[in-house]
């Protein structure tokens, strides 16, 4: 495990309304990170907000020792993040969590992300492309102005599709509908998804209906972020007998096979 209290901000820019990209110099984190993992950031230097904030790793550059994150300002912690300037030190802990399982078969995978949920999927898509997988990347957003630029993915050879709720760009509808269309017309070996809970529920349904291996990234309020406090419980099925139990999003997840996740308890 790794706490880097001397990680350094390289850049921190608003890229679209309410969404920022921050690049952080932390060679150790950059070299060991796996797609789907997150860093746990101390956003303030005081006791308020008290807890760290989990943010997925969005991209990494092993050579330059840099990771980047994509974050949306929703409250105090993420607002404080926007105030970091280049050269500021930032206290991060990570990489944490299990990460997406990514076999090394040269197969076809589909990634469906909603909103800022595309962050870990971008990292995943880039790694998968390097493993010579065919990646179909579906980005969902509310409207054109909240679409995140995905040039890197196209450059890496991914098929990039977009869906907007209001139809202002790409497919008019949810990314899950676009995913369904794909599954109807071609073979996909594995699906990966991250986004708001209603979307993940739909993904689980699609996964079960299509009997397709699917991994989703869950969110939960976190205390420690490393598995010690049991604060980030999510309910999952444990075995054939369909018993269920609580698992820790931070340490047993955040990635779980869609079929084991119990929503709505």
């Amino acid at each position: 495990m790794h706490i880097d209290t001397s990680a350094t901000v390289i850049s921190n820019k608003k890229i679209i309304p309410e969404h920022y990209k921050m690049e952080i110099y932390s060679p150790q984190t950059a070299s060991s990170a796996k797609p789907g993992q997150f860093i746990h950031i101390k956003t303030s230097r005081t006791t308020s907000p008290l807890l760290r904030r989990p943010i997925s790793i969005y991209m990494r550059d092993k050579k330059r020792g840099i990771i980047s994150i994509l974050y949306k300002t929703v409250g105090t912690g993420t607002s404080l993040l926007t105030e970091y300037k280049p050269e500021d030190t930032i206290d991060i802990m990570g990489p944490l969590g299990n990460g997406f399982p990514l076999g090394d078969e040269q197969n076809r995978i589909a990634l469906a992300g909603g909103g800022v949920g595309i962050a870990p999927l971008v990292f995943l898509a880039l790694e998968a492309s390097q493993l010579k997988k065919q990646v179909i990347f579906i980005q969902g957003a509310q409207c054109k102005t909240t679409l995140i630029e995905t040039r890197e993915l196209k450059d890496a050879g991914c098929i990039v599709e977009t869906a907007t709720d209001d139809g202002s760009a790409g497919f008019h509808g949810f990314p899950t509908e676009l995913l369904k269309k794909y599954l109807e017309k071609e073979r996909i070996d594995t699906v990966y998804s991250c986004g708001p809970t209603p979307m993940l529920k739909t993904i689980k349904k699609i996964s079960l209906e299509n009997k397709i291996q699917t991994y989703i990234s869950l969110e939960q309020k976190m205390g420690c972020g490393i598995g010690a406090c049991l604060g980030c419980a999510c309910r999952v099925l444990v075995n054939e007998s369909q018993g269920s139990t609580y698992k820790r999003v931070c340490a047993d997840g955040p990635i779980f096979p869609a079929e084991v996740v119990v929503f709505d308890e």
Binding site: M1, P49, L50, L51, G223, A228, G231, A251
Partner: protein, 312 residues
């Protein structure tokens, strides 16, 4: 120059003692069973480890959300999720035994008989150095907290547990009472070897859009820096009236907080919520206390304990 000793000894009544190389332990429920934090530092450095609260049977805990952040604090409603005593002894204790740091087992029950049984079962288990009775967990429906806010039931639960263990017995009190001194005195009379002060404060939070409490269980336990002034006051008060050692906790975040607790009357202290923010907190506190002692001329922890009280 005389040597500076950080050792703390909590003497049990049965020739068994809890001997800690320094006064800094980790608070129950905030440190799991040590594994996660072992990835950050050598657990041998700690004074002691209090493990997550254990019950007779495994418990799956409360539904999420289980944590709500509040100003400089957190509310938790974990609900005593734990593998039960057998799971603990089988799967968790062996790892902890690989360190020479004493393990304090925090126990909770729904009935007095359960506390007694837990004490009995743990009495001769290798690698268990002390028991901490949790009579103050706000997150479960029955028992537990009820013992911590009523003098008679506190007396009974401590006494029965005492009768069933030869281990040093620590009683962890609930701060949700009018008179903490009275509760501490009761625990002392019933046979406690030390008092832990404090567990969490009952609090709640409401989702203003869903228009209901955020926790399924309505209330949760408040911990973290927010509660420090109250916890410290309780340590102060209890020190004035009680003769057994006090383990202070509640919002300790840095060595200065720790020193305040010792000067107010704590013989040892536990770091809880602060582990979540900075896993190295306990080590930084150990170093900080040592430097403070050197600078201020304290030779040992006993000398420092309660030093801020006016001479009797």
């Amino acid at each position: 120059m005389n040597e500076l000793s950080m050792e703390v000894r909590i003497q049990g009544q049965n020739r068994r003692a809890l001997i800690m190389k320094n006064p800094v332990m980790t608070a129950s429920g905030t440190f799991g069973f040590g594994k996660e934090y072992a990835a950050f530092y050598d657990l041998n450095k700690l004074g002691a480890i209090a493990v997550k609260g254990i019950t007779l049977e495994p418990r799956e805990g409360n539904p999420p959300p289980r944590i709500i952040e509040t100003p400089s604090g957190i509310l938790n409603s974990i609900g005593l999720q734990n593998p039960g005593i057998e799971g603990f002894v089988r799967n968790e204790l062996p790892f902890l035994r690989t360190f020479n740091t004493p393990v304090i087992v925090n126990i909770s029950g729904n009935t007095i008989a359960e506390y007694a049984l837990l004490a009995e079962k743990l009495d001769t288990v290798e690698g268990v150095s002390a028991l901490e009775i949790n009579v103050s967990c706000p997150n479960v429906k029955e028992g537990c907290l009820a013992f911590g806010i009523n003098k008679e039931s506190l007396f009974n639960v401590v006494k029965k547990t005492r009768e069933n263990t030869t281990l040093p017995l620590i009683v962890k009190l609930s701060p949700n009472v009018t008179d903490i001194v009275e509760m501490a005195e009761t625990a002392e009379q019933a046979g406690a070897d030390a008092i832990s002060l404090v567990n969490t404060f009952l609090g709640t939070a409401i989702d203003i859009y869903k228009k209901k409490p955020i926790f399924a269980n309505i209330v949760g336990g408040l911990s973290g820096p927010a509660i420090k002034p109250i916890a410290l006051r309780m340590v102060w008060e209890v020190y004035e009236k009680v003769n057994i050692p006090i383990i202070g906790m509640g919002g300790i975040t840095d060595w200065k907080d720790a020193v305040e607790f010792i000067l107010a009357g704590a013989s040892a202290l536990a770091v809880g919520t602060a582990n979540f923010i900075n896993p190295n907190t306990p080590l930084e506190i150990i170093d900080g206390i040592q430097s403070y002692m050197a600078a201020e001329g304290f030779k040992n922890i006993e000398e420092m304990t309660g030093y801020a009280h006016p001479p009797a």
